[in-house]
Every structure is written in structure tokens, then in C-alpha cells.
Symmetry: C2
Subunit: 172 residues, 2 copies
């Protein structure tokens, strides 16, 4: 072995390919990520025009669907982690898009609800949002879309309660 460092680069890559591994670009996480990005790319410009991020929009929609909610419940509904929600609620409150008041019975809890301005903003965004969704549905096909959502739900179900960290297997 005379030459030691002629092309370490290629040698390393070759060695790396010996590590058994699926084709990277076809992994399930990547497929899901790309699909979601393809979808969100359609919505972001419209939301942006109205000064909303994807997550802020999720929160407003979630609040519109329920009278009022505790922060924890809202986090579950909008599928956000507590810390993210905490920050976003602070901003949305400062913009008067939501209202909050601490629950009487339990001072720890705070009830969050959408404000009149929040409703107005939703009403101004909803049309284009719906139009985009309709376009996506048309392009992909309504039936296939329903099938896809069904499969995604099943995937979620089949992984529920796996690797949640510390729950015993099934006994106990």
C-alpha cells in the first residue's frame, strides 16, 4: 500500500456504501417530507400575503372549530408542541387575533379563543385556501386523495404506542 492519501474522498464513499442501507431517496420519511412540502408550497404564498404562517393558520382554524380550549388541548388539536404553541399564542394575542383568560377553577389553565379580528382574518384567507385545496384535489383525484388519507391514518395507527419511550410491552 504505497499511496496513502491520494483520494480519501472516494475511498470513504465506497466504504460508506458497504453499510447496508435502503436507497435514501426512497425512504418513507423522505417520501412523506417531499409530499408534504409539495402540498405546503401551494399554500404558503397565500398565507404569507395575509401575514400568517402555516402554524398560526392551524391554530386559528383549530380555535374556530371549538368554542375555547386550554393550551394543552389546543396543542393536541393543532399538532404543535407546547413550547411552539406558547410562543405563537403570545404573538397572536399581541396581534389581537386571539383572546385568553385564566380559568376560574384552576389558575394554571388558560382558556384560549379566537377574537373578532381573528374571525375576520380567517374569512379573508379561507377562500383562496379552499381554492388551492380544490385545485390539489382535482389534480390528484378526489378518490385517490381519500385513499391516501386513509392510508396515512392507518400508518399513524399502526405506529401508535410504539417507542413511546417507557411503557412496558403489554404486561404489568
Amino acid at each position: 500500500m504505497a499511496k496513502k492519501s491520494t483520494e480519501p474522498t472516494s475511498a470513504n464513499a465506497a466504504a460508506a456504501r458497504q453499510v447496508p442501507m435502503r436507497d435514501f431517496s426512497r425512504s418513507l420519511p423522505m417520501s412523506l417530507l417531499r409530499a408534504r412540502e409539495a402540498v405546503m408550497r401551494q399554500f404558503r404564498p397565500s398565507l404569507r400575503e395575509h401575514g400568517l404562517t402555516e402554524q398560526q393558520w392551524r391554530i386559528l382554524r383549530a380555535l374556530a372549530a371549538i368554542e375555547a380550549a386550554e393550551v394543552t388541548e389546543l396543542a393536541r388539536t393543532a399538532f404543535l408542541l407546547g413550547p411552539s404553541l406558547s410562543r405563537i399564542l403570545r404573538d397572536l394575542e399581541a396581534r389581537n387575533l386571539i383572546e385568553r383568560k385564566t380559568a376560574k377553577a384552576d389558575q394554571r389553565r388558560s382558556m384560549v379563543s379566537i377574537s373578532k379580528e381573528g374571525v375576520k382574518l380567517m374569512a379573508s384567507v379561507a377562500p383562496s385556501s379552499e381554492a388551492i385545496y380544490a385545485e390539489i384535489t382535482q389534480r390528484f383525484g378526489a378518490r385517490k386523495l381519500a385513499e391516501l388519507q386513509e392510508m396515512l391514518g392507518e400508518l399513524e395507527q399502526s405506529l401508535a404506542g410504539l417507542g413511546a419511550g417507557d411503557e412496558a410491552s403489554a404486561e404489568e
Copy 2:
């Protein structure tokens, strides 16, 4: 209409529900997000034990599959935006997991490749990663998984070149 501000909260939520809108929790973006999160939740602990984030792992895998790549190409492969990749490469280089050298022909380009240490790290992570993937495949079903990936790819395709911003429809 005597009482005006007894429960403005409920009134706003009621008004909001007049805004025509699909059921929030069943929207495609949410379905995709939840499915992806259910999947990634399985992988994160293992990656974390090895000191890697999901994105760092994506980059290492992408580099293992190709001899060396320019940053832009790598961004496309690992599905990361330029700025994110730029930061991550800086960190991975500091940890000696990758190597980079500027191309001779074009000083703007830099070629990135995996290092010997990077290969070792990959080899140490791959087994558990593969085991997790196998578990997911088994739970969900290999056939259904293939179907799902097929549909996700079709979805991505059907949205390609829609709302990319400024390309003319089809002419010119």
C-alpha cells in the same frame, strides 16, 4: 339580542364556524404531518443516542450514496434548503464527519464528501435504523408501504410545477 357581551368568546367561535372550511384535522397537510411525525418519532431516539439529528443523518446518507457532491446538489438530494445545509455542513465539518474542498475549475463550488469518521458513525447507526424501518414495514405491511410510497410520489408529481411562482403557464 339583549345581551351584548356575555360570552364574546363563544360568539366569535360561532362566527368563525360560518367560514366555510374543511374539517381541520382531516386536511391533507395535517395527515401528512401526523404520519411523518409518527414515523420520525421512531427514529429520533436512536439518532439522538448517536448525537445526530434527522437532517444530519440525511446528509451523511446522501453523501454515502455519491462519491462527492457540490453543496447545491447535496441540498437537492437531502431535500434541505441552502441555508440549512450551509449551517449543518459547518457543524459536520467541525466534527470531522465530512470533508470539503473547493473545486479547482470553479472557485465558487465546494465539493463535499464523507470522512472516515463519518463512515464509522454511519456504520454504528445503520443497524438500529434498519431494525426500526423493518419494524415499521412489518407493522404497516410491506405491500401497503409500497402502495403508500407510490401514491406519495404521484401526489408530488401532480403538484410539480404548480405555484412555483413565476413560470408562465405553458407557452413561451
